[in-house]
Subunit: 696 residues, 2 copies
Amino acid sequence: MKIFFSLRQVLLGSISLCIALATMPISADEGMWLYNQIPTELLQQRYGFVPDQAWLDHVRLASVRFNSGGSGSFVSSRGLVMAYHHVRADALQKLSATEHDLLEEGYHAKSEADELPCVDLELNVLMNIRDVTDEVNAAVTPELSPAEAYAARRGVINTIEQTEFEKSGLRSDVITLFQGGQYHLYQFKKYTDVRLVFAPEQGIAFFGGDPDNFEYPRYDLDVCFFRVYEDGQPAQIEHFLSWSEDGPQDEELIFVSGHPGRTSRLNTVAHLKYLRDILYPRRMDEIRRREVLLKTFAERSLENERRAKDELFGYQNSRKAILGSLAGLQDPVLMAEKQAAEDELRAAVQRDEEMRAKYGVSFDAISETLEVGASVTVEYGLLERGTAFNSELFSIARTLVRMAEEDSKPNADRLSEFTDAGRGSLEQRLYSAAPIYADLETVKLADSLGMLMEQMGAEDPLVLQILDGKSPRARAAELISGSQLADVEERKRVAAGGAEAIRDSEDPMIALAKLVDPRARALRTIVEEQVAEPQQQAYAKIAAARFKVLGTTTYPDATFTLRLAFGAVKGYQEGDTWIPPWTTIGGAYEHAEAHGNVPPFQLPELWIERRDQIDLSTPFNFVSTADIIGGNSGSPVVNQAGEIVGIIFDGNIYSLVLNFAYTDDLARATSVTSNAILEALRNVYDADDVADELGH
Amino acid sequence: MKIFFSLRQVLLGSISLCIALATMPISADEGMWLYNQIPTELLQQRYGFVPDQAWLDHVRLASVRFNSGGSGSFVSSRGLVMAYHHVRADALQKLSATEHDLLEEGYHAKSEADELPCVDLELNVLMNIRDVTDEVNAAVTPELSPAEAYAARRGVINTIEQTEFEKSGLRSDVITLFQGGQYHLYQFKKYTDVRLVFAPEQGIAFFGGDPDNFEYPRYDLDVCFFRVYEDGQPAQIEHFLSWSEDGPQDEELIFVSGHPGRTSRLNTVAHLKYLRDILYPRRMDEIRRREVLLKTFAERSLENERRAKDELFGYQNSRKAILGSLAGLQDPVLMAEKQAAEDELRAAVQRDEEMRAKYGVSFDAISETLEVGASVTVEYGLLERGTAFNSELFSIARTLVRMAEEDSKPNADRLSEFTDAGRGSLEQRLYSAAPIYADLETVKLADSLGMLMEQMGAEDPLVLQILDGKSPRARAAELISGSQLADVEERKRVAAGGAEAIRDSEDPMIALAKLVDPRARALRTIVEEQVAEPQQQAYAKIAAARFKVLGTTTYPDATFTLRLAFGAVKGYQEGDTWIPPWTTIGGAYEHAEAHGNVPPFQLPELWIERRDQIDLSTPFNFVSTADIIGGNSGSPVVNQAGEIVGIIFDGNIYSLVLNFAYTDDLARATSVTSNAILEALRNVYDADDVADELGH
């Protein structure tokens, strides 16, 4: 896959409609566990090993999250960070000039002076966790209406975050767990000066390209190294992971410390059907539309290809991921299992008078929220998620328009993405120097305005206002060429001017954002108050019922926060074929050969040249039964000694169903071995400086 | 583009929802004229040249239609046929083995013995045209209900076709013109022994690939040559076109004799909105879905790519074509013009008492049919058009199931594709030896069954029966691996067994076709009786009104039958740039260079080697103002002397709007020059034998 996860989706207006509560007991190597709620009994019983608190603190503090989506880890005392390759792609895509395509060529800084500063990259390290469930719940009293409850909860959360931020200087996020069953305050140390140290060529990092994505066996060196700086100097890091030169061993217990983005395991069956029948099919149409659009744009010239490549890859990746999830939901066997588990829980609730009174109606309450959700899903997607305005410039304009309005309110009352606590991260994105390409913007906006006409109706009054008597193509060209927002200074000027600057602005993109905002905000309010809030309340009750019936040793659905998973290095049986747990570097050459040595199956020149100097028997990629999902890419895989034996970069095609239920029949997490990374650094890239620093 | 047109769409159950009547007067070089209704005054006035009857008969009899969609012409007395390259691709795709990919390599038969027989290819030459409007209308009396009227019309048409076929031995089709304003009997001579003589490499025939498709300037040698045989000998051809060695001249009058597939110029505005808001967006989602699916399949291996290539190209081509049409309809300016013209016609009808009585309600009647159409469009698409069953084996099974049932009825009562007159062509397709790939079939069917679940509902009773308790993927695998219909002999056995063989069959694909058929047929009946029939009646009235108001010198919408268009060789002004009327062969080398010389911008090796022997200043591709649309690909472009100066293979991106209205501002038809063809045959391919035969 590229199991990264877009934090922007969460931050910029994408409110999850997918929140819920598990109805099955824990099995096998299941679980994306909270660091403060580790399954000690399960580990003891399955593997006879339980990490102690020092081990847990050390691994947690060595784990990092990227704001661009994805995980990483500290691997030296001088701030060296190991990440998966796509993080680099994202950061460099924004930097690289036409002439010098770092994305293709890879990079190796010969000295610290050569380390390349990255645009927009932010790293978070989880310093503290504190349970604030009682504080949050105290603010949301039973007599409040859903709208009041929503506002009250948002208020108390904003206040806690702000207070704790002011106290500690740490980024402070209140995380909703178990869909509202628990609230934990997570405090993060931020690093924003991040520089690229080493990255291999795209050709080996993503060898096999989109065709091999989510497939196994694999042969990818999907890794890169950054260094974080503080005050212009490499940061001094206390907790960094040591390095295993031997790599993973067959059947050995391994841990994965990373940030799974989102799962829907605790969803009610009605909620799963909503995903299957409404949300996913619609999302798939959208993704395919954008994929085809970008592909067509990319094929017109080499420069177009460079401009569109990274975004295109994102859609291809999402398409496979959602398609895999959809295939799971379209399997009547999985749905029957889900239904049986839910029936059992519901029956248990019905049998107990007290539970029936407290939790009995929760399942039906979820279904009611889904009906509201379904009724606004088209307009909400177009106007509030903004799929009708597929343009960077529009996103910037909307952020400016909303920031001016939100900043006039008390912190506690603002939309979540405009609170004081998140301002630093918001501004980093808003004032990003990443280039914005007018041609690509125009093509994207024209197509999405066409989609708006199709889906909301060509004669809808708001649509007519948006198009202003022009065709989507003409209107997009006018908006993109007329806007000044590609200029970062202009954004700063407008932001500094506040509500007045927005009122007086003649920028056509700002005018468009203003035009759309009342209806978009109204839709957001409906979703927040009539979908998200009652859903959260109902799921919190289902969670409580489940704790009573099945016990509390469990884990919440993924929330793009730090989790610990575990499992064994293990192959699998696919039909008649046994897929061994690892491939070798030599296998990469055979794989290239079998595909005619053409892109994306063409090895980089250096790999061809150095073939004789490489130990071809070195394990290259390996699979394990650890419980992962999108967002886990880049997670360190560590052994019992806490040493890195690999880095997660993918899951096989069967792992996509992990969105809804854990299984170790065929589902596997895919990693690069630590020994292949060493072999490549030393014998392909002459990067002994990096190799020597690992674990030191 | 590749302006070919799938006749299969018309024959196998795709009933057009797009039939209508023009509301604007003829302008400029407009018109896809009937050979028996040539605009002599217009030609005289614009060009001072009117072809005489002998010229018309000669060019008509030298024009051919391919059953695979597309046009061609006889170019020698010994049966040599010039076609555009894709016809060859389609015919050879079905032949070529993995090892020997003729699609890529091109072909040149050194002697007649080496000429390669093509699978499934049928050529039609239009021998006679007779107006049978009165005969058809006599059978459809005003007191009949729509269902009766539909049956009566189908009956009389089937009878005329059968009688005339028996009389003459010629394929006899009654063609509906002016959406029911006129009916003409077209009689065709068929050639079914068609052999490939010469084809250039895919790399030059489709140089620039999908990215350059529908673009201009272009540099494609999109041509190939077949020879038709009769009784095992090259056919003796009386009417063949002579060859111009000089090629096209700037501003000269040219004619295009070919088979435009379908236009919607005479549609009411309500009908255009139906296309804009319902039919096209839905079709686009379908096409993008299939495009992405095939692309993903193709990328898994070189062999997959070969298997999927031709079908993939078809979707890419359709996607661009429909998108262009949709962009036209989403332009408020074009829609306002259409509306104004319609308002004018409606006002004229209202002013005249007799017209008001006879034709007054016709426009509203169209709108009513569209509402019915919209209400069944999803199910009709899935079940009757068969988009839920994207599989060759399913199409075969359905044909067998329906043939058994239809053959028990009198000829006049059968579904149009099962009449005696069409049986030869039907059997040629049904018993085609073209290979069917189980892996590709499974992938396609699985995806389309998933689409069925999404669109008709996972819990629809028929959907549950179709899926039989399995996931789309598992069900598709079971159906494809369980069916015997890949074997042509098995198809013949089932067909010979008639209704009994269908009843007793244990083939799972036949069982599926039987399961779906009652509902599919019911939907077809609704569309035929409540949409197509009343639409046809209403459009016939609008046509009559239009003849009264605007006169009869006009042409019907395209119907994939032979038409004559005319225009001038002419460049165009695009923004600040003047696009000259032709490119040169030398330009192809520059174009390749500018795109890094990688596919699809990589010239074939032979072209690199022979560069010094080619006259690089030879005009290569040229544009003209002739009025064309999909289906015209392969049409000969002839000068006043009736000599071939080129072959149509594409239109520029602006030409797509010709679907709805003619314009010569920017819209241009794109052709290969006759002189480039000669230059390539002689100086690239050493094919002097072919060059010498042209025009002799």
